[in-house]
Each structure stands twice: as structure tokens, then as C-alpha cells.
């Protein structure tokens, strides 16, 4: 009997250990297998590249639409797509590239979709991304020059989204055009406006950042100088004054979706929202059709999403990656960004059809970028201390 127990415990323990080991090794093995199988069946001179991306479901859907389109156009390139859902370790992809660079290995990642911060980090680590040019990617010419110069040709800012004002047109007659008019509207209609807790989502964050920086010179938004923190007082004063006139005298729901839910329920009439999120939900009737979107002056913040080509020292793969990036910038592919992701196109609006330009006229007024880096955290802390705690 005791022997039996010992055996059982032993077996269970081994199963447990084996189970753990298997779990961690199963995935890469599985991937490798399917990849080599695929390449065996493919033509000899086919180049295989891998695209790593992260974000919400709409980003995944986008790539799963684009890659078959691209492979049809370019049968000589095979694209393997790896999607890391946001919040599950997107940073680890970047860590992988950096680690591979430092040890002189091939990272196995050819195209990486990331943020401005990733480009900066790539530079700090000694140039892990290729500097791109019009020879490899002719369609770069279609991107507004200032956007690509801002990243010094290290990335293709292929799509963007921005925060806009979403409002219920049945309830709001005097739609604000400027930030000042918006603050006035909030005071005139107490309880009908909400922005989400800034730390929990970009739309509320954008409201906070723009309110503070609207009181400062235009170029202050790109300053990372900590002395600017003393000049935030005026903006925080405005936020504090708004507090009692917000939804339920100062309730800030969590996450971007929190305020959109209130808008859909009719508990509020106006809120800042991400353009792509709001447009997609309008399309799926999750938001009632009475909701309109509008950019105010000066605009809320927003930002592009960047595609980088990783330097693995393999020219064939670099050229294949450039072909993919070039394809992403075609009108055909950019229409997918607009139609399916409800994002802003990376290329100039003038290349797109009049019909599309008209449909997006409300939100295409552009956006500002806040690149204060660590100042962002300080702003959030002060917001919690002074605005939320009243």
C-alpha cells in the first residue's frame, strides 16, 4: 500500500515536472516544425520573413488581411506573422531583438511594429533597425515628409489614430470648436461630460495632457525638461475647476471603453475617444448612430504606429521586408487601414479617393504628439493627488 502511494506520488511529481517543461518548450518547437514544413513545400528561392506585431484585435485582423494580399502580389516572399496581444509582453519582443543584437545572433524578427520609444531604444542600443530610403521603398514618397523626417527614416509610420471629441448630436446643439469652448460647455452642462482616468487609457490621458499644455507654448509638448513641471499649475487649475461639473461631480471611469459605455447609455453627452475605437464601434452599432466625432482646435493628441526593419545582416530578407513595407503603403493596403481599422492612413490624404476623404473629414484635422517621456508619469501622479482627490 505504502509502496503504491510512493509510486503514485513519484509519478505525479514527474508528470508535474514534465508538464511544466513541455509547456515551455512546446511552442517554439511547434512553430519551427510548421515553418520548415511550409518552406519545404514552397519554391526554392522563396524568402521567408517574419512580422512581429502587438496591439488590440483590430491590429491582428489588419495583418491577417494584408499578408495574403501581399503574398498574392509577391509569390517570392513568404510572410510568417506573430501576434503578441497587448499586455502580454510586447516589450519582450523588443528585448529579444536587443539581446540578439548584443550577442551577434539573428533575432528571427524582420519587421517589427512598435512605437516611437522603440525606435529611440533601438538607436541607443547601437542601431538595431535599418535606416530606410526611397530606393528600397518607393512609396515612402507618399508619406507626408514631416512624419518620416520626425523618425529620421528609421520607420514607416504606416497608420495613426488620434483622440477626438465624441458627442451625441441629439443632445448637444452648441458643439464646441475650441478647447476653451469645450471647457465652457462642461461648466454650462454639469454632469454631461466625462473623461476616463488618465492612467487607464489614452483618451482621458490626452484630455489631461492637452488641457495642461494648451496653457503653454506650442513646442512645450516635445520638451522633456523637468523644469516645465512648474508651469503645469494653470492647466491643473482648469482640471480642478472642471472636476465638480463632470459626470457625477467628478467620477472618472476606468479605461477608454468606460466613457464610451457611458456615452452609449446616454449617461453623458460628450467624451474624448480614440478615433479608430469610436468609428469601429459606430460601424458595429455598439455606439448609437447619433454619436458624432469631431476634432477641436488645438487638437487632442494622437500618434502613428511604426514599422521597423530589423538589421539581421541578411540582404535577401531585408529586400523582402522592404517589399512588404512598400506594399503596406499602397493605396490598396491603406484603404484596409481606413475601412477595417478605422485608422488614419499613413500616406497623404490626397492619394485617397474623394469619397473616403469626405467620410473622414470630421476627424482628419490631425493631432498633436506628446513626447514628454517620463514627465507623463509625473503628470499622472499629480493628477491623482490634486484632481482625483478633492
Amino acid at each position: 500500500m505504502k509502496k503504491l502511494i510512493i509510486y503514485t506520488v513519484g509519478v505525479l511529481f514527474m508528470l508535474f515536472v514534465a508538464g511544466c517543461g513541455e509547456e515551455s518548450s512546446a511552442e517554439p518547437a511547434g512553430n519551427g516544425e510548421s515553418a520548415s514544413e511550409d518552406s519545404e513545400t514552397a519554391e526554392q528561392d522563396q524568402v521567408e520573413i517574419s512580422v512581429y506585431s502587438s496591439g488590440s484585435l483590430n491590429v491582428q485582423n489588419y495583418w491577417e488581411t494584408i499578408i495574403p494580399m501581399f503574398e498574392k502580389d509577391h509569390p517570392e516572399v513568404k510572410v510568417e506573422f506573430v501576434f503578441v496581444p497587448s499586455g502580454t509582453g510586447g516589450q519582450s519582443t523588443m528585448d529579444r531583438i536587443v539581446a540578439a543584437k548584443q550577442s551577434g545572433n539573428d533575432s528571427g524578427i524582420d519587421v517589427y511594429e512598435g512605437s516611437l520609444a522603440d525606435i529611440v531604444r533601438g538607436e541607443e542600443e547601437g542601431g538595431i533597425f535599418y535606416q530606410l530610403d526611397g530606393n528600397g521603398i518607393p512609396n515612402l514618397a507618399m508619406i507626408p515628409q514631416e512624419n518620416i523626417e520626425a523618425v529620421e527614416y528609421y520607420s514607416v509610420p504606416y497608420r495613426a489614430s488620434a483622440v477626438v471629441l465624441a458627442y451625441n448630436e441629439e443632445k448637444v446643439q452648441d458643439v464646441p470648436n475650441t478647447a476653451e469652448e469645450l471647457y465652457q460647455w462642461i461648466h454650462d452642462n454639469p454632469g454631461r461630460f466625462a473623461y476616463n482616468e488618465p492612467g487607464t487609457g489614452g483618451s482621458g490621458d490626452s484630455f489631461m495632457v492637452t488641457t495642461i499644455y494648451n496653457q503653454l507654448p506650442q513646442d512645450a509638448m516635445s520638451s522633456q525638461d523637468e523644469s516645465i513641471m512648474e508651469e503645469w499649475d494653470k492647466g491643473f487649475e482648469i482640471l480642478k475647476e472642471l472636476h465638480p461639473d463632470l459626470y457625477r461631480s467628478g467620477v472618472y471611469p476606468s479605461k477608454n471603453q468606460g466613457t464610451l459605455d457611458l456615452l452609449a447609455n446616454g449617461e453623458i453627452d460628450m467624451t474624448p475617444a480614440w478615433s479608430d475605437m469610436a468609428l469601429e464601434q459606430l460601424d458595429k452599432n455598439l455606439l448609437p448612430s447619433t454619436i458624432q466625432l469631431k476634432q477641436i482646435d488645438p487638437p487632442f493628441t494622437g500618434g502613428p504606429s511604426h514599422l521597423m526593419v530589423t538589421d539581421n545582416g541578411d540582404d535577401a530578407r531585408k529586400q523582402a521586408a522592404e517589399k512588404l513595407l512598400n506594399f503596406v503603403l499602397t493605396v490598396e493596403a491603406q484603404e484596409v487601414v481606413i475601412e477595417q481599422m478605422f485608422g488614419y492612413p499613413g500616406i497623404d490624404w490626397s492619394y485617397l479617393s474623394d469619397e473616403l476623404q469626405e467620410r473622414f473629414a470630421d476627424v482628419s484635422d490631425g493631432y498633436r504628439s506628446f513626447t514628454g517621456g517620463k514627465l507623463q508619469e509625473e503628470m499622472l501622479k499629480r493628477w491623482q493627488r490634486e484632481v482625483a482627490t478633492q
Binding site: K2, I6, F13, R248, Y252, E267, L380, Q390
Partner: protein, 293 residues
Amino acid sequence: MSELAVERKTKKPRLNWSKKTKRSILGVSMVLPSFLLLLVLVIYPVALSVMESFKSRDGMWTLDNYLYLFTEPHMLNNIKHTLQVTVLSSVFVLTIAYSIAVYLRFNHSWIAKMVGKLYFIPMFIPGVIAIYGFINFYRDNGWIARLIGEGNLPSIIYDMKGLLMINIWFNIPFTTMLLVSAMSSIPNAVIESAKDAGAKKRHLFFQFIFPLTYKTMLVALTFLFMGIVGSFTAPFLIDRNAPQMLGVAMQQHFSSYNEIGQASSMAVFLFLLCSFVGYFYIRSNMKDSTKSY
């Protein structure tokens, strides 16, 4: 037979020794998996965050994180709020669950049978879904508000009332289950003989039922306290923005502010709070085991 017995007797000392070793090997091998699991998944991370809580952003040893936790007015408010919500929720849950358990033990009507079958349903509804359902039900223009007329309902969502209500919803099933099992272990004979001796209902409760279930109540209380004090999802979605429950503040310090040290100091504080409560749980269990052996 007798020969065998003699042989066994002569070999006894050696056998006994190896039996002991066998037993201890068995004991160790049975504890080992859970101990290793504990080591990797609990002890190591706890040690890490204790260390992290004494470090500043640039990696120097410091007490600043604890100073921040216990001197910043808004953090003190957060601690106060956390304890308030936890204590209030625990008291409400315990009172309600205890009443249900008593009712189920001594009432045999069909309603009691129904309640007995239904009370653990909330356990099987995933947390986030329950919370969204709750918000739609009780928000200012939700179902209840539409039934009784908007404006007649006090604010529940984005308020402590809502948080207490959802804590009650989540915690009643398990607490009731514990108490029902304690109640059902009270022998009918005890109660009937007390009744025969002329005990009134009041006496019956305070002299017999309460003393026989009070230990389980303490156990339930520790589970309640630990579950609620570190909760995140419900306060994140239902509570006001300030003051916050510590679970929410911790997440905010960790991912929005990147203040890993401060977040860790909160985690350590919560851990100490829970171990303080856990101490009573272990003590009452130890008493139990010394009694029975």
C-alpha cells in the same frame, strides 16, 4: 506461523528503522511538490518584492517607499478606505451568510430547499461579467432606475455602496457553504435534548449553535478578509477614483507611474495585513489539532 513471528521479532529493530525512513521519505516526497511550487510561485516573488520595496528608483537601499505609504495624505486615505471597505464587506457578508445558514439548517420548507440550491450560483458567474451585469442593473439610468423612475435611486455605481454590494454578491456563496457545513455538523440530538430541557430559542442559539459554529465563522472571516483586502477588478470598475482600494493603487503605481518600489511597499503592507489575519486562522487550526491528538 510462529516461526515467522519469531523471525519478525528478531528483525524488528532493523525493520522498524527502515520503516521510519520509508515513512519520512514518503512524507518528504508528498510535501516536496507543493513546497517547490510554494518556493517558486510564492516565496521567491514575495522575497523579491520585499527587497524591491526597500529600493529607490536608482537601486539604492532606502525607506522612502514606506515613508511615502504612511505619510502621503492620499495614501493614508487609501489605506483607510481599504480597511473600511474590507471590514464593512466582511461584516455584511458574515451576517447575511450566517442567517442563510441558520435558516437552511432549521427550516425544511420548499423555499429553504430552493435557497439551498440557489445560493451558490454567483460562484459560477465569471467576475468581470458579473460586474458588467451589476453596472447595467444599478447604474443611474439602468434597469432598476428605469423601473422605479430615474432620480429615485441613490447612486450605487462609482460609489462605495456599489462596491460593498458586489463584494457581498461574490463572497456569500463560499461563506455560506462553510457555515452550512458547520451547522449541519451540530447533532440533532443536542438541540432536541436542549429543547426538552426547556431551553428557549434565544438560549438555544447563544448556548449551543453559536459556540459550535463560531470557529468556522473565524475561518470564514479570514478568507473574507484576505479575499477582499487585495481585490482589484471590482474596485477598479466600480469604486470612485479617490480614495482607492490598495489593489487599484498598487496597479496604478506599478504600470502607470512605473514606481515599482512604491507598489512593492504596498504589496508588502497587504501581505503583512493578511499574515496578521492568517495568524488567527492558523492558531485556531492548531488548537483544533492539539485537541484531537
